[in-house]
Every structure is written in C-alpha cells, then in structure tokens.
Symmetry: C2
C-alpha cells in the first residue's frame, strides 16, 4: 500500500479560503514581505520533501526500530540522511528569527510542515519535534554566553535538543523531581539524577545533542517551585564529552523508530538557564509549543489513516451495498457500504476541523508575538490558552480511536502489518499520554483556565466564535444554541464547585469534549462558507464530511452536557 | 507486574446470586446431578489451572511469537506442554457429551473457563477456541464414518480444529469463496484453493489438526448457496499426510503467540460434512458458538486490563487529589484522582455486566438443548439470536477502547512493554474484526433479526427484561423508560425503512449500542438485587461501578436514540 502523500490543496484551502491567513499575516509588520504566493510555494516544497524523503522511511523505521548498544543509539536506515537533508534545507529554522539563523516565516507554515511530517513518519518527526521549543527557551532564558554556543545550532537544527523532565517516580507530577544540581566554584553546576522517557536522548542524527534538564538546587523548596533548568550538551564547546549516559531505550507499543531513552546524569557539568527556581517557567515555553505540535501529530496521523482506509475502500469489493440489487456473486466497493462510508466521512470531518483549529492557533501565536495591538494580543492569548489543551486532547484521541475505525475498514487485513494501518494506531496511542495526558489537558482547561476566572475567558472566546458564525447558514442556529448551552453549563459548574471541589475533576473530560464540539461546529461552518461552488467535486469533498459531522459527531454534545448537569445536580 | 489472576468469587457471585444458575440447571434432566457445589468446585479448579499454567505464558508468547519455518510452525515456549496438560485434564471436553468422551457439564462452565483463559492468555486460547464449535459441527453434520475417526479426538481436544473460511478476496463476503472441491470416483473429494487468516492452521501443539473447509462443488450456484463443507485432516487415519500446506504466517499488531496461517489446499483428498450446498448451515453452528466465545474474550481481556490498572492505581502516587490539601511535595494514590477513578469504575461496570449477559446466554444455550418446554426453548432461541451479536460487538469494543483507558492509568509506563497493558490493547483489537466484524454484528442484529419480523422478537425480549427489573429499585423507573424509548425507536426505523433501504445500515451501530445499554442497565439492576449486605466492602465493590454506569455509561443511550431518530426523520 502506498505511503502517505501530503494533499497540500486541502491544507491550502483551509489556510487561504477558510482562515484568510496570508492577508492577516501580511498585515503584520513582521511579515510584510510574506505574501500568499510565497507561503504556498513553501507549503508545496515542504509537501514534496515530506512525501519523497520522509514518508518512505516510515515502515522501515517501525520494523528496524532504533537500536541501543553500549550507550549509543543507531537510528533506523535512512533516518540520518533524511535528517541531514532536512536541516540543511532549512526546514527546522522555518519560523526561527532571521537574526538567529532562521527564515522568519509565520508559525502557521511550521505547523503545516509538522502536520505533514507526523502523518508521514511519526517516529522520525519526534527527533526535530522539540527543536522550536528548545530554541524559544534558549532564546528567552539563556545567558548570552550560552546563546553564543547553542542558539544558532538549535535554531537551524544542526544540533537536536531534548526536554528532560520525567523521572521514574515523577511523571505528571514534576514537583517530585529529585535530580540534583550542585553549584560549582566556577559558577557552573553539576547535575546528577536519572531521567526517563527522553525522546531522542541519544541518537546518531546530529553531531551534538542539547539537553534541557529540570533539577533541584540544594536547599530548594519542595514541589515545583524548587525546580531550576539546566543546559547539558552531549559535547561541550571544547569538544569534550559530558557525563550524560543513555542507559537503555524502552520497548514500546509503537514509535519504534524514536528512541525513548533512560538518561543518567552523573555530576554532569552544565550551566543554568534562567533564574534559580524558575525552571518550570522556562520549560513551559517548550511545553506549550509542544502541545500544539502534538495536536498536529493527531491531525496528521488521522489524515494518514484516513488516506489508507479511503484508498482501500475504493479498491476492495465485499457484498452488495443496500439498495444495489441482490444478484448472487456480485459485490460493491466497501466505500459504498453505509457503515464504512460513515467511518470515512467522520474521520475526514475531524481532520478538516482539526486543520482549521490548529492553523488558527498558529496564527494566534504569531499575533501574540507580532501584533502591535494590545487587544488583539489579549484575545490571541485567550484563544491559545483555551484551545490548545482542547486540540491536544481531542485530536490525539481521534488519531487513535478514529485511526482504529480506519483500521476496521480493512477488516482482517487491518490487523496485519503489511497494510501499515495498524502501525498508525500503535504509533498514535502515545500522543494521548505525552506532553500532559489528555486527562491533565481537561483539568488544565476546566480547573485552571475556565473556573479560575469564573468562566469569563471562556465566555469571551465564545463571543468571538458566535460573532464569526456565518449568518446565512441554517446550521448556525443550532451552533448558537450549543454555545448558549455551554455558557449555562459552565455557570452551573462554577456554582456547584463551591460545594464540591472534586466535581470539576470528575466532569473535566466531558467539559473538554463539549468545548471541542462547539469548536468543530464553528470550524465546519467556516469551511462551508469557504466552499464557493456547488460542483459535484465540492459536494463529495466537503458536503459528505459536513453531513457526517452533524449526523454522528455533534450529537455527543448533548450527552456531554447531560452528564455534566447530572453531576452538578448530585453535587448541589 | 503480576500476571492476571482469576477472581472466581466475582464470577461465582454472578453465577449464583445474580443468575441463580445452579438451581436453574439442576432443574433440567440433563443436569440433575450437577449441583451448585460441583459447579463451584469445577470453577475453582479451572481458575487454579488458568492462573498457574496459562497466565505465566502470556508475556513470552507475545515476545517470542509463533515461528514459521519450511511449512512448520513452532509455538512459543511452554505453549505445547500447557496444551497437553489442558486436554489431558479434560478441560476442552467440559461441555461435550459423555458419550463422545466429554464431561457433560453445563455450557456456562465452559463460558467461564474461556473468559479466564482469554484474560490470561488470548493467544494461547485461540488454539482451543474453535474446538467446541468444531465438535458440534462434526457431531451434527458429519457421517458416522467421519465421526468414528474424528468426533472423540475433537471432543476431548486431543486434536485441534480450524475453520477455513476466508480467502484473499472473500472476507466478510463468503459468497465469493473460490476454493474448489472436485468429486473423486471413490466418493471422496479433492479440495484446491488458498485460505487466509486461519488461526492455528499449523502448529506443534497436537499430533493432528482437523480443518473444516468451505469450498465450492463443480456447477454449484454462485454466492453462499453454492458452498459445501469439507473435513481435511493434517494426517489421515492411516497416518499419511494430506496435501494441506501452511505457506506463511502473518505479521500482526498483536496476538503474536497465535499463528495466523495462509493455508494452501492442493487437491487435498477429503470427505464432505453434511449436504452439498449446505456448507454455511453447518459452519454457522461453529460461528454462533464462536461469537459467544469472542464476547467472552472481550470480557476477559477487559478484566485483565482492569486488574493491571487497578493494581497500579493503588501503588503509584502523583500530585494531590482534589480536596486532599495542598502541601507541596506530597501526593496521593492515582486511584484517588477522579479522572482515574472514573476509568477504573467504568471498566468494572462493563466487566460485571458482561458476565451477567454472557453467562445468561450460556444458560440459554443449555435451555435450547435440554429444556423439555417448547416455550422456554423459543424464548432461549430469541435471547441468543438477539443478545449474541450485541455482546460480541460491545465487549470486544470495550476490551480495546476500555483497555486503552486502562493503559492511560499508567501514563507513559502504559506505552512501555514491561507493564503488559499495551499487549492487552494490541491483542484485543482483532476481536472487533473476527467472527464477523462489529459492523456486521450490528447489521445482523438490526436488519436480519429485529426488522425481519417488524420488531416482534425484540419486543418479546424487552418484555422479558422489563418483567425482570427489580420493582423495589429506584433506578428501575429509568430502565423502564429506556425500554419504552427503544420500542418506539424500533418502530420508527421499521416505518422509515420502507422509504430508505440504507437507513438501517446507517444506524445499525447506534441501534446495537442502544440495545446494549438497555441490557447493561438490566444486568446491573440484577447485580444490585443480588448484593445482600450494606457493608463497606460491598459498597466499594459494587456501588462504585453501579454509580459509574449511571454517571458515565448510560447517558450514551439518549445520544444513540437521538442519532437514530434524526436519521429516520431525514429518511421520511
């Protein structure tokens, strides 16, 4: 079965016709010279690179896997050459500033690139996945001395970077981190401890690896406030090797081409990044960028699964579809069977809405950075804070569960390696866990962001969306009604939480799903407003997923709000 | 992490306290001598065998896998010894008749045995999984000559059996089977063709393997009515080898310890089983038994996943649970966090309800066979016809999706092999596909069984359930209301289907889920009626899952019926 191929026309449709992104970006002084033609050209080239260089390595990466021996990790065949070609072509530096060696292009282009890379080869994409976050972290928090050695190498991707947070006893709960940092007389530090689940902690893709490590200074207070951030390179600027060791890599359900390393820091000499005790703040820069990337992984993987299932459904014949006559021995394409059609159209509805939400979020990130208008910035901040955890959760959920639905389209063949669909399901599963489990995203949304200000930010976000619903569309009425329900339900949670501190934690998942469905609804109304013709092609491409959304996806909204209201009533 | 351990006390509770099975069975002449004490003794011994012999082989089976070389298949270490001990102890013959070498015990005991076996080691259990069906098929359809050679060997499990249906182009659509059977002058046949996805088509567990093969006689009509069934042994009674070859085994997502074989029949000499052209009828005996087994696999695998997640949630501490204070550096068990509690209690609600439904179905199978009362038999037939596809679909779905939720309880560790939970998810996935995909189960339920008689059987089943709801229970009112809704929705589909032949195919999945939720609801009301004390233990064991069912599971009913009604309205 053929590899994933980027369909840049669909992506471009969302970028230009749905979000009007090129015009919005060009209005910002930072991107005055980035016009629509340039953006589309970059997108096409990215698609070509991903399809030709990265996608063909996916299957082999799963079969061979990353190999550990004596502390060194060998990446699967072809991964290194592809990475060298990737950074030398400037792809990692797409959205880095020109003064740091980057190309200064908008974040949305980087987002589209990562969607395609993840769809093509999730394992390979793990390697550069944290680069941009590490770049931002070093740029904004490291000393000039550190920057002089590391900023450009990380900005361009000549060196790769890791985020060393998790320890065996400290996963979601970073407050329990025990890795120690001891100040040395020369102003440097020595870091000791063991970090686990370090993606790309060791590999042969680049000459050097830059580790950003959370550790605790002597006499630091317990909990998250006692954490500081340190930069430990594999090789120091003088060429000597640091005392960082990869003790083993994990055997995993999937993602075999990405080494998940146990890293041991053995009095590794290093410098601090930012202020003592502010390690988490510096790290959160990386984590927020990472969450958007993980949402894009979900969207990309679901698209890849959909592509495979769609192709199979147009080749394979089994039984007569209803209404197609009953002549024995004849059969119809499985894509004509309603149960299969439903799966295919539903996944497509998720992918398209995912793009609208993720690209819009990337746009908002650029507005935060580059808009001269304080109101625009505030509104962009709000969008990113509220929408990022929703996207991370629902699109990684959908990549696994909807990917499994796509596997189902293959029948027994779906369970067999050679069709490649089961790899997508295995690979996708991890995205529901890392960068904050989906349950933690839900608590982040409801407890930390919505309830923290009594629902004000959420209401402001809903105002934005409500105003943006196309007035002419019939379905906008139902969308408005759902928005009103969501506002009311939010206030019920605010009130009932006074009596019951655990309530919000019990219903956080339902609440996140309800918000997601309102966002999906908006996204699809915007998509339909962007479709300008009623040709047969447009019907098949856009109308069927829109119908699937309303038939099979949006009814979940009522169930979620019912569950929440029931819990609020019990709490009262 | 420790292996699955059967918890026979929970199973016994459902058998005796919820279903009153021993008394019901003893009332049948066939089981007059099977008292409660005997049944419980068999259950305890089965549990011991499964826990001590079968469960410890599960991890190795996944890691080593079945190995193919030169047409022979070597099973993972320990599988053969375990199988020899299994059949020599009489376990495969539990429910076979005494006259065939069996023990003549009730089907429900066999069901409980297979639940435990599947939970302990899904791959290993694939080997004897089709035995009982093959036994029934040979017993009821084969000639006396064939029976004299094969019936007792298959009844006792000394020889294993396969079901050879699928071909590369004929999966769900058996009408497309092309394997040919040519009559020979001596009254035998020669079968030629290639069958795929044959579980246990070749292995080293037993001295002989008995293949039941669907093939087409010359001049047979096209489609399913042209199919006949043949018995092709690996070795003939005279010891010579048949022309059946295992050409390769598949690389799969999971179930690595079960060889999924490509079997080539090269003019293999064999005998017919039953009448020419009645092959599917004979095969359906096997397939119905197999569907109950697959439902039990789902229940068992979900229980195994729950056990692992439950144990982990009682060891691992991360962050403070809500309402538990905020002292930095301290943390609570993850089982105390509401999002994790919700996952654990919900899966337990599914497992317990699954047992009630599956054991009840096994009881009904015995009533079909052994009840002297025609009304009882008819009602039992109805129960099995309607409830079997529902169970097959929802419990295999839940084993994968709920198993994935259990994986989530482990955070990043869930994605790593060593905890064993990811294996359960990978293994479970196939059960949504084989023995009729879950989509086909839904169409079987709605199109072939409910709509075929205008909803009469379904209404009769609902009458049985409605009468059986405990009158004293407050929640029975809601259950009665859901039953009424289901009746009304069924009639809406009946009416709207007149206009739209595809409607039932579009909503079949929703309909099956709605029926499942009504059955779950009934099952839990019966469970609660069986809990006779209000001790703290009973609270934790039964009350929390019951609460989870009503909080998180049953609200789906409204969503499903809403979706169906919306589609009916569109069709009208």
């Amino acid at each position: 079965m053929s590899d994933y191929q980027p369909r840049t026309d669909d992506m471009q449709f969302v970028l230009s016709r749905v979000l009007n992104a090129p015009a919005q970006l060009q209005a910002l002084p930072a991107f005055a010279e980035v016009d629509a033609a340039l953006m589309l050209q970059v997108l096409e080239e990215a698609g070509k690179f991903v399809g030709e260089v990265i996608a063909p390595l996916n299957r082999g990466g799963d079969e061979i896997g990353a190999q550990w021996a004596g502390g060194a990790v060998t990446m699967p065949t072809g991964f290194k050459d592809a990475y060298q070609s990737f950074w030398q072509s400037g792809w990692p530096a797409l959205a880095a500033s020109a003064e740091d060696g980057g190309q200064g292009l908008p974040t949305v282009l980087e987002a589209m690139l990562y969607e395609m890379l993840s769809a093509a080869n999730h394992s390979w994409t793990m390697a550069p996945g944290l680069l941009h976050g590490a770049y931002e972290c070093i740029k904004h928090h490291a000393s000039d001395e550190l920057k002089s050695h590391y900023l450009e190498k990380v900005a361009t991707g000549e060196w790769l970077a890791t985020m060393c947070l998790t320890e065996p006893h400290a996963g979601s709960d970073l407050g329990q981190v025990r890795t120690k940092a001891t100040p040395l007389p020369d102003g440097q530090y020595a870091v000791s401890g063991t970090k686990i689940f370090i993606s790309g902690g060791e590999h042969d893709l680049t000459d050097n690896i830059v580790h950003l490590v959370l550790a605790r200074l002597p006499d630091a207070p317990p909990g998250p406030k006692g954490l500081s951030l340190f930069l430990v390179p594999k090789f120091y600027p003088d060429g000597s090797r640091s005392r960082v060791h990869c003790d083993r890599i994990e055997e995993k359900m999937g993602l075999h081409g990405s080494p998940t390393c146990v890293m041991r820091f053995d009095e590794a000499v290093c410098a601090i990044v930012g202020e003592p005790g502010k390690g988490l703040n510096a790290m959160f820069v990386m984590m927020n960028a990472a969450r958007l990337h993980v949402a894009l992984q979900g969207i990309g993987l679901l698209d890849a699964a959909w592509q495979k299932a769609d192709a199979y459904s147009q080749e394979r014949r089994q039984m007569r579809a209803p209404g197609k006559g009953k002549s024995a021995g004849e059969s119809d394409l499985i894509g004509e069977h309603p149960a299969m059609r439903r799966i295919l159209d539903t996944q497509r509805a998720w992918v398209d809405a995912g793009r609208v939400l993720a690209y819009r979020t990337a746009l908002e990130l650029d507005l935060i950075k580059h808009s001269p208008n304080a109101d625009t910035q505030a509104s962009a901040q709000r969008w990113c804070a509220l929408v990022t955890p929703v996207m991370k959760s629902v699109f990684t959920h959908q990549a696994f569960h909807g990917g499994s639905d796509c596997l189902q389209v293959f029948g027994g063949h779906g369970y067999v390696r050679e069709w490649g669909i089961e790899q997508i399901v295995r690979d996708a599963r991890v995205a529901m866990i890392y960068e904050g489990t989906n349950e933690i995203q839900a608590i982040d949304l409801l407890v930390r962001k919505v309830l923290a200000d009594g629902g004000n930010s959420l209401n402001a976000l809903l105002d934005t969306i409500a105003l943006d619903l196309p007035k002419a569309a019939k379905a906008s009425t139902a969308a408005q009604a759902r928005i009103q329900t969501l506002r009311a339900v939010t206030q019920q949670i605010v009130k009932a939480s006074v009596q019951d501190a655990a309530l919000a934690h019990r219903v956080a998942d339902d609440y996140l799903r309800a918000v997601a469905l309102v966002l999906m609804d908006w996204a699809w109304l915007r998509i339909e407003a962007g479709v300008d013709d009623n040709t047969v092609t447009a019907q098949a491409r856009w109308i069927n997923p829109a119908k699937a959304l309303r038939s099979w996806v949006l009814p979940e909204f009522q169930m979620r709000t019912f569950i929440i209201v029931q819990q609020c009533t019990m709490a009262a």
